[in-house]
Symmetry: C2
Subunit: 370 residues, 2 copies
DNA sequence: CTGAAAGCGCTTACAG
DNA sequence: CTGAAAGCGCTTACAG
């Protein structure tokens, strides 16, 4: 029996214990669903808990059990310089990340974990500090692409289990990504062999994004292997945003360049911008120029023409990342640096209209209702 | 000076202190950016921190400072029965919630808070327990619409600061929402007066959603006031999903009912489904039937015809919810039950094509790139 | 089955 | 400016 006085503020386990006439150990036991407290004891405790409106403190629980049951998810803030542009319409560009997070959340929940989400601006000078604060609140970290340098990742991974998303093969920590190589090669074959295009281009995403690098290389080399031509270089350097797709096409047209017959984009966002800019100049997609994306975000099938793209199992990527992280947390041992794994999930080419394939017969406004 | 032995596992503040030759109090001070440790001391501490890869434990920090710097955000899981349907394409239906969360996150971050996001299934029998666990990990809770009964909300709010989103005026806790009444009245006027429609309908969202109730009432009463007819009732009961919009229109057509000249939907999702189902039967929007939405999600302008809808300041709603919650957390006092506030943010009618207004001249694939 | 007590890793008055 | 010590609210061996 404990003698502490009833606190005036939010009730603690001591208040519950006193009210139920038991020790805090017993309260803790019923809280954790152990089966030793006998029914009568348990009922008294449960009654006291609900009467007091007691909510066990997660911090205390975490401190003493050495488990927070929280995983941190860090992603890159896209626009959002502090003031003024605070509420730019960034929603489109974050769909991918949101879906990944949803996949993480769903499986995390089954294991009793919640998600601590946090966006960071790669430019902030206090980045290491922010990441450290976040890490301190979690049992492990999942890092989206482009939030931290490989060195920074390696550093934080000394102390906290870390899994990266869409990182490079052979990076410092476990990594989960979609298979970009296979499907971009397939895309190249579809465009060159099935449609007969000879002059193509690849609009790149962030130059330092591993996914982008793989996509560009796979596409270009397959096009070349099939005897086609693939334009690349600075003129085709985008940044995964729709805006970059617009700018590139406008720039090319302004220069009087002859556009390629087909443009493969690093992702769906970019393709959206490209189609917009082509339409702006009266060019038909796919009649004049075929355009393809990557990701298969929901809006891809709302576009006209519907976008030919590569479907990534987005939520599964998130789910896998959690599972990998969870096993690291449970193992509790620091990661064997020679056992760092790269998990690659299968992707699939989705042929719709923007590549030149014929439209299907359902109404074009929306095609998958159930 | 402390005498504890160096732990073999992850370093603690004691390890840092010993290595730097100072007390843990000094380490804590530099960790928290106080200005008393003199530069020389500070440097030694910083050096020890980085050498050890020390990350301060958030749980310990929270326990002793009585502040977790975490806000919980709970939203409703839409589909997702455990197996099988696990990865349904629910992404469309969660856009609204994701944008709200983004708004919360952006302002929360400025105050050093991170977001703990958690989806719940209203059907789970352990819901009270889950909410309790989540609450224990946060300083306060933001509850999306439809996650907990008013009684459940009142109960949890006894112990933790709570703000609801899109809840009812006069609910048990502070609430933040968009102004549905004004803009739905304006929508009614636009449809009846500007376009001359006389026979209209409102497709409802969840019957117990406060926003839905206000939208339906405002629309119907304004239509009536202007001498129009507004169909309602069970045949027009949806659930905010695109699928419900499809089912309702299909059902009506199957029964041979004469469709109204205009259909106002409870949200954009529903409108998407309605437009799809109308197209399916060869009906033209807005030529045969005008259709409108609510929310102005990004896809609204990708549709054809582009969707006339009501723009809610989605991110601002999230931001406001955080600010309100933050002031409650800082005040630290339990909320005055007579001071419960209802914050209503302005909305705006966005006239595009689906109501019958003429299209603008930009390419229809996408209209706002920058 | 139940309780007393130690300990989780920090922060923060309180002294000096 | 710096340190010793108490305390935050739990969990969990260890006894009984």
């Amino acid at each position: 029996m404990d003698a502490r006085p009833t606190s005036g503020a939010t009730p603690t386990i001591y208040d519950v214990a006193r009210r139920a006439g038991v020790s805090i150990a017993s309260v803790s036991r019923v809280l954790n669903g152990r089966d030793n407290p006998r029914p009568a004891t348990r009922d008294r405790v449960l009654k006291a808990i609900s009467e007091l409106g007691f909510v066990p403190d997660g911090a205390a629980r975490a401190l003493s059990s050495r488990l927070k049951q929280v995983v941190g998810v860090v992603f890159r803030r896209v626009y959002g310089t502090d003031d003024g542009g605070m509420f730019e319409d960034e929603s489109e560009s974050l769909l991918f990340g949101d879906q990944i997070n949803r996949g993480i959340e769903i499986v995390a929940q089954r294991r009793g974990y919640d998600l601590l989400v946090s966006s960071v601006n790669i430019d902030e000078h206090t980045l290491p500090n922010r990441i450290m604060t976040i890490a301190g609140k979690c049992d492990g970290l999942i890092l989206h692409d482009q939030v931290l340098s490989p060195a920074g990742i390696a550093s934080i991974a000394r102390t906290v289990p870390v899994v990266t998303l869409a990182g490079a093969e052979g990076g410092p920590v476990a990594n989960v990504r979609g298979d970009s190589a296979t499907s971009m090669r397939e895309m190249a074959r579809h465009l060159v062999q099935d449609h007969g295009y000879r002059r193509l281009a690849y609009i790149a995403g962030h130059a330092d994004s591993p996914d982008n690098i793989v996509r560009g290389r796979s596409f270009a080399s397959e096009v070349h292997a099939l005897g086609g031509e693939c334009l690349t270089g600075p003129a085709w350097q985008g940044d995964y945003s729709a805006g970059s797709g617009v700018q590139i096409v406008r720039g090319l047209i302004a220069l009087g360049a002859t556009l390629p017959r087909a443009i493969a984009c690093a992702n769906d966002q970019t393709a959206l911008g490209v189609i917009y800019a082509l339409a702006e100049h009266g060019l038909d997609v796919p009649g004049d120029v075929a355009v393809t994306g990557f990701d298969d975000l929901p809006f891809a099938r709302h576009l006209r023409p519907q976008l030919t793209t590569v479907r990534q199992p987005i939520q599964e990527i998130g789910a896998k990342a959690f599972e990998v992280l969870h096993s690291m947390i449970s193992a509790d041992a620091p990661q064997d640096s020679d056992a760092v794994q790269d998990f690659v999930l299968p992707t699939r080419l989705i042929r719709r209209e923007s590549c030149g394939c014929p439209p299907d017969s359902r109404p074009a406004v929306w095609r998958q209702i159930s």
